[in-house]
């Protein structure tokens, strides 16, 4: 950003501010020391039949309030960053104050997180207090993509079913939240061509027992073996180590329609789960991971609760 700013505007503002304040003081001094000889007149205006205004100097209390204001402004500008070229003697910043207040709030809840942080995830999933915190965290940070009920949407995985792209161990879930995931499926349009993509799509449909064109599926099987097995495995059951989905189950991240599968095969997919380590901190992620694991293990959470 440095190339867009120069010190000129800071100086410009500072000079205008300081000169204005001094000018106010000088003006006030000059205007209140000079005395006009002779009788005091009214300003000559009359309102509501008989309301007139004396042309008197400022009353003292008002004058002194004005001087106090001027002194206050100078003291304020010396202490706080009011002039762009001077950061203030107190070194106060709004972000500094935020950090301070945040640190205080964090310190207040730290004992709770310390206690939960020591508990293993499976045990934590049965803790009602931790689940309540977990749900709050989920609704605040996760529900935008995964839905309030954690059942996801098109392109966003359902977290309540037993199907996991990267494996469903609670520790793996914690890793996913901490570091994020980048799910990349490369485009195969150039390699397969339009017909080839359609054949592969029909084979994929047949893998999970969905209605498909058996001739195309047969052709697709060969293409699949040549292009897809590296990630999805020879039987299409996927590979959790790289997040390649199982194609033989009934879970579909996008859709089970032929057109969508052709689109996926042709154009590929780029899916991003952001990392929350920096944003939430490891302690909150720990609680969150336990909550999310509990969503797909209702019996386990009940058992742990007992």
């Amino acid at each position: 950003m440095a190339e867009f700013t120069s010190s000129f505007w800071g100086v410009y503002i500072a000079v205008i501010t300081v000169v204005s304040i001094i000018a106010c003081a000088v003006f006030l001094k000059v205007q209140t020391t000079a005395r006009v000889a002779g009788k005091v007149e009214t300003t000559g205006h009359t309102w509501d039949e008989d309301l007139a205004e004396w042309n008197n100097p400022l009353p003292n209390w008002w004058r002194w309030l004005f001087y106090i204001t001027i002194v206050f402004s100078l003291v304020y500008l010396a202490l706080y960053p009011g002039l762009a070229v001077w950061g203030g003697a107190l070194n106060w910043t709004s972000s500094g104050q935020y950090a301070q207040e945040r640190a205080r709030a964090e310190a207040a809840v730290q004992p709770l997180y310390d206690r939960f942080g020591k508990e293993p995830l499976v045990q934590l999933a049965g803790n009602a207090e931790a689940r309540a915190i977990g749900q709050n965290l989920f609704l605040t940070y996760c529900a935008q993509c995964h839905s309030s009920d954690a059942r996801g949407g098109v392109g966003f995985p359902n977290l309540t079913d037993p199907d996991w792209l990267y494996g469903g161990d609670p520790e793996m879930i914690e890793q996913t939240i901490l570091n994020g995931r980048a799910g990349v499926m490369p485009p195969f349009g150039p390699a397969l061509g339009g017909e080839g993509a359609k054949d592969v799509a029909n084979y994929v449909l047949s893998l999970s027992g969905l209605a498909s064109d058996s001739i195309r599926a047969q052709k697709g099987k060969e293409l699949f073996a040549a292009n897809c097995v590296a990630c999805h495995g020879p039987d299409g059951k996927g590979n959790p180590a790289i997040g390649a989905p199982n194609l033989t189950d009934k879970t579909w991240l996008y859709s089970s329609s032929e057109a969508t599968i052709i689109e996926t095969v042709t154009k590929g997919r780029n899916n991003q789960m952001p990392a929350f380590k920096e944003r939430l901190g490891a302690e909150r992620v720990h609680i969150l991971a336990a909550y999310i694991w509990g969503l797909s293990h209702p019996e386990a959470t009940k058992a742990a609760a007992k």
């Binding site: 005395r35 000889a37 309301l51 007139a52 529900a143 839905s147 009920d149 059942r151 098109v154």
Partner: protein
Amino acid sequence: MNDRLTGTPAPQTPAPSADETEVSLYEVRRKIYPRAVHGLFAAWRWGLVWLTQLIFYGTPWLVWNERQAVLFDLGARKFYIFGLVFWPQDFIYLTALLIIAALALFLFTAVGGRLWCGYACPQTVYTEIFMWVERKIEGDRAARMRLDRAPASASKFGRKIAKHGVWIAIALWTGLTFVGYFTPIRELLREVATASLGPWETFWILFYGVATYGNAGWMREQVCKYMCPYARFQSAMFDKDTMIVTYDEHRGEPRGARSKKIDYKAKGFGDCVDCSMCVQVCPTGIDIRQGLQYECIGCAACIDACDQVMDRMGYPQGLIRYSTTNAIENRWDSRQMRARVFRPRVFVYLGILVAVTAAAAVSLHGRVPLKVDVLRDRTSLAREVEGGRIENVFRLQIMNTRETPHRFKVSASGLPTLGVASETEFEIPAATSKQVPLRLQIDRGGVSAGSHKIDLEVTDVDDPSVAVKERSVFLVR
């Protein structure tokens, strides 16, 4: 409007003398030493002092449901008034209260002049209390004037110290009580005792303490004369049928001192004996015999004082009395005067006041101690699930505003086959707001694609009268 009402400086300002070329805008205050006054209206004022102060100092000590009965918890944004717990969403009731207070001020002022100023305003009430302390320590008007003129002495110093000591004690207790409405007062007192007050509590206790001490001890009538905006705009509610503290000029003039024995009427005197008692008792230092003035706070001290003088002289009471401009000008009797209370202005104020009060009361009575906000999820507008059903996801923000935990159930209506697929019952702890994810489903094919209006109803399981219905939409693709 005459110039005494508007307060144009011209007639009161002394003409500049030859060597004085400008008139100072700031009138140097001449200290007022009001004489103690007894009588009907003073008794009314003391009655109101007791009433308002018992309520003010006493309320924070009341206990309700094992908590402070009246507490405005700004940190938690919960406002407890006996059995009621107000949330920020209930701010409309504060608006209603302010409207009612404003209209009541209009009504009372139109009928009886500055009744608020004279009897109930904290400035008047605390000045009354502070003047009572002053009288007990320094004596009445004459004694106080003598004391102030007297050279410095140990006794004078002692009396002044005692007076200010008592004043400061009252003022600090007032500050503490005020803050006690926002922080539980028992904790506050314990913090004072152990010198562990927080910075804001300290600030506000001192702020209100200093304000009470300064306003009731030092500023007094200057607050009414120069600072108070209500004092000025109340004159806009006056008309010629407003009851105000009035000196009956027809009866009193020509005024003059006379012997009680003479036939004063034969000598051409009016009823006013020019004893100046009305001026001596006036807390704002005016002479009511000059007519209605903007400084007059309508405290009726002069009525009490004058009635006592009239009694001593054997004249009828009421030379200074509550009367109206019309009644004095036209020499009406009190029945004619009272008939004019029923005029359109009064009916309009009264009508609006009754309407707003009734509306607020009905609304408060029917207030459901449950609030529900419905938020549609924006991630997936409509998703297909097993069984050929279409699902929409919502988030309910359920606020149980009662001080006991309650179980609530949720139901949905407005579309055929519409049903709740997620949990339908949940417990919300006392005075807590909770977010609840909600899944609604319908059979596919039953309704056309697009947006459909639905109703979501949240009901207390144990008390079906506590229910809230919210509108939302169900999307079908």
